[in-house]
Symmetry: C2
Subunit: 489 residues, 2 copies
């Protein structure tokens, strides 16, 4: 294994000007024998009111599914005391006297080591000096990525349709977001090459991609496309930022055949790990991928702990930023989340993720089944997602009776459908709301036409957030709205 | 009570360009009767592993002091369930199904309402439309304040000696930090007026001040100075950012008389509230104060919950920023901290703060007693702090035998003392390390000379972080170092 390439030339003005604190030079004396250290303003843990915290969580195996009500029989109790000597060393707890104190910007060692081991098992990063630090979630991970690499006025590359908040983060920082065309399988490598080969002026520093279970399109990049995109990134010396909240929400491919569904389920940890599409960081020989990871979709969003994986000398600049912004994720959240993970162990955590896969596969199947049954195939087309929380479906506006009358503008039909669906009692989000349009003052010359048909538009739905009967009803009502608008009923 | 003045002209380019998410327009249908909402990608709370969390904390009254070991007799147990219907409504808990979900960027209602009531009791903000939102601590509060008001290349005003990290935050953003002279009572209002009256070019947008128990000088602004500074801020249309982690670490004034010490203690909530110096926000008729508050010094730093108080239409811009950065403080931390505060109630929380005041007063007394006994008064002078975690003492370099020989540079003597003290086994931080020097490319014309003697320097010590016997020993050893260097032993 080799060292990562030196990519510090890609750092932003802001990241380059961050200095470590001078006070740090004094802290080397902190634990020196015989030293009375009156240097740092840390409160005494005696004054922390939390003496003990306890959490009740389900027990690995999760025999009745991860969403089952916890009973006394399958309950695991995590108990964390203020002082280390009151905790069982086997539990590898972060004692409250430490988690509630200042320090450990990168995250507490126990949690970071657990996540590193997990990362090794799943991604096996192919260079030596990779590292992992905590964030307060991938929203902040993305914000700090932009601060670390991009200057006001620079451009970045994004998927043609992408998470609106991610665009908003960039736009407020005065960054242009240049869309790269997608199809039903995600970002099109050739289109990325075309954008970059034809680029004039300062190159974009990075490509932002939600490569698995993409928001809003539900698409996932194939292994082949990932390799192609990585080669293009190398050629043009850009970073790839893989924002991967949905990575573990990968599923078996959709089938109508219920027996086949059953047979496709993964049963062992090995099968599960093998079933995962390779991440960008798993093929990153040069250290040009920054991976944004998070517990939000696998445990709970409100924990507000994420992590960033990348080469150590780039992550060091994130840490300098975190020192003067978030400092670190809440120590209470770290103690409890680490407590659960250590108790479950890596195998127990994989059990949980396998359980999650089963739940989302079933939800996706219910959603697609309902679409098959309720959407008129004359005008609606879609590819069933293989990851994430979202499904998208294309509607051919040209088949709408008023298409020409309304100026042959698919967005006018999109709006009609949106409003009709609300009237029918079903809400999904128009795809055009996610369109990356290059920001206020875009270098329009970098825009590349999407090769797809110009008369299609799409909607984003989710099977994540509502119970299955409500999901079915919602899709049925949406189907009715489409039929009404297209004069099919 | 009047409305705050419109101060939106002070917003930064970044803050002005933040847009609310278009998805929000869809969320108005979220709880509409009969609507199947397939719009938002929120995971089901069924999949949050935390079913119940419990914390053990001391019981108000805190008869044996806030640092006493908790016993079964004085233990309060906070228990928070996933589902609201499993919690006692009287407890005003934030149920886990909500705190572990996305949403509530401003902070959960229960916690925000508790903090608002607390703010009303202590600060009684004198205009109508003040508001309060959570942060992940005042480090982040300050970072987001700069992003909200200051552009790259702008200048801000800071205390001549100030928290090194606060300067670092500004410098990385390309902001010039112009020092305003201080004396032993903190920022000098006349000096502030001189800086601003003589200012040419774009005015600074804000003054950053740690006005109570200042870091590193330990000084606290008097009521009179606060009013003078507020008038200057009005005249020059600048904001005052009061960073107030130490506000509740105010103390009785130092006395050598041990009987008098006893008699000065506060005994009731009324006495306690009256003993507080008025904050800037308590005299802020125009809404030009942003107050950064935090649990870090009163409960524990690792909680990572702070709050920002100010006028609502300025705070709204912070919220837009938080939506695309931190989102909100950890829900686990919010549920537990709110759980404790609701259980204690406002009176119980005041009990805690009174207990904290007693602890820090005692620590301060021990430190100053030791300084009186060990520091040579021929060369050392100081004012005992009335707030905070820090004490500072001035040393007159001109009395050092090698002062002239070493070029009459007080910083050379400062370094000699620092190194000698380490040799003696005591570490405090040289004051020069905290000097605000205007940043890389400072508009030097704005610098105003400190009227104080040019041959003095100072050290910052803390009585917060170590046990009392170690504190005494550290001061004794530091005294010996001074005496050695000045040829007094």
């Amino acid at each position: 294994m080799t060292q990562a390439k030196d990519l510090t030339h890609l750092l932003s003005q802001e990241a380059l000007s961050r200095n470590p604190s001078r006070l740090k030079s004094a802290f080397k004396y902190y634990s020196q024998e015989g030293m009375s250290f009156l240097g740092g303003g840390l409160p005494l843990p005696d004054y922390f009111p939390f003496d003990k915290i306890i959490a009740e969580v389900p027990t690995p195996g999760f025999a009745n599914g991860i969403g089952a009500k916890i009973t006394d029989a399958d309950k695991t109790v995590i108990e964390i005391n203020k002082r280390a000597h009151d905790n069982d060393p086997q539990d590898k707890h972060i004692e409250l006297a430490r988690s509630l104190q200042y320090g450990f910007t990168e995250g507490h060692t126990e949690l970071v080591e657990f996540l590193k081991e997990h990362t090794r098992m799943i991604h096996n990063v192919p260079y030596k000096n990779w590292n992992l630090i905590t964030s307060v979630g991938s929203t902040e991970g993305w914000e700090s990525t932009l601060r670390t690499f991009v200057n006001r006025g620079d451009s970045i590359l994004v998927e043609e349709y992408t998470f609106a908040s991610a665009l908003e983060t960039a736009h407020a920082q005065g960054i242009n977001t240049i869309p790269v065309p997608m199809d039903s399988e995600g970002l099109i490598p050739d289109a990325l090459a075309t954008v970059l080969d034809g680029w004039t002026g300062p190159k974009p520093k990075l490509l932002y991609t939600i490569c698995t279970g993409q928001n809003p399109t539900g698409s996932s990049l194939s292994t082949e496309r990932r390799h192609q995109i990585y080669e293009i990134a190398k050629k043009h010396d850009i970073l790839i930022i893989e924002d991967e909240p949905y990575y573990f929400l990968q599923m078996e491919t959709y089938t109508r055949d219920k027996a086949l569904r059953e047979s496709k389920k993964v049963h062992s940890h090995e099968e599960f790990v093998k079933a995962m599409v390779p991440s960008f960081i798993s093929i990153d020989t040069e250290g040009r991928v920054i991976r944004l990871d998070s517990f939000s979709k696998v445990l709970a969003p409100g924990i507000r702990i994420g992590w960033i994986v990348g080469q150590d000398n780039l992550l060091e600049r994130f840490t300098r930023y975190h020192e003067v912004s978030i400092q670190n994720p809440s120590g209470i959240a770290q103690s409890l989340t680490n407590g659960v993970l250590q108790k479950w162990g890596q195998p127990g955590y994989l059990d949980w993720l396998i359980g999650l896969r089963a739940e989302y596969t079933h939800k996706r199947d219910v959603a697609i089944d309902a679409m098959v049954e309720n959407f008129p195939e004359e005008v609606v087309s879609y590819v069933a997602p293989v990851a994430g929380m979202f499904f998208a479906f294309n509607i051919d506006a040209s088949k709408h009776p008023k298409f020409v009358e309304l100026g042959s503008d698919p967005l006018k039909i999109e709006l009609l459908i949106y409003e009709q669906a609300i009237k029918q009692g079903s809400l999904m989000i128009p795809g055009s709301w996610f369109k990356a349009d290059g920001q206020s003052n875009p270098p329009q010359k970098h825009l590349v036409e999407n090769p797809r048909t110009k008369t299609e538009f799409f909607f984003r739905g989710t099977y994540a957030a509502i119970p299955l009967d409500e999901l079915k009803r919602g899709i049925e009502k949406f189907g009715k709205a489409i039929k009404i608008e297209f004069g099919l009923i």
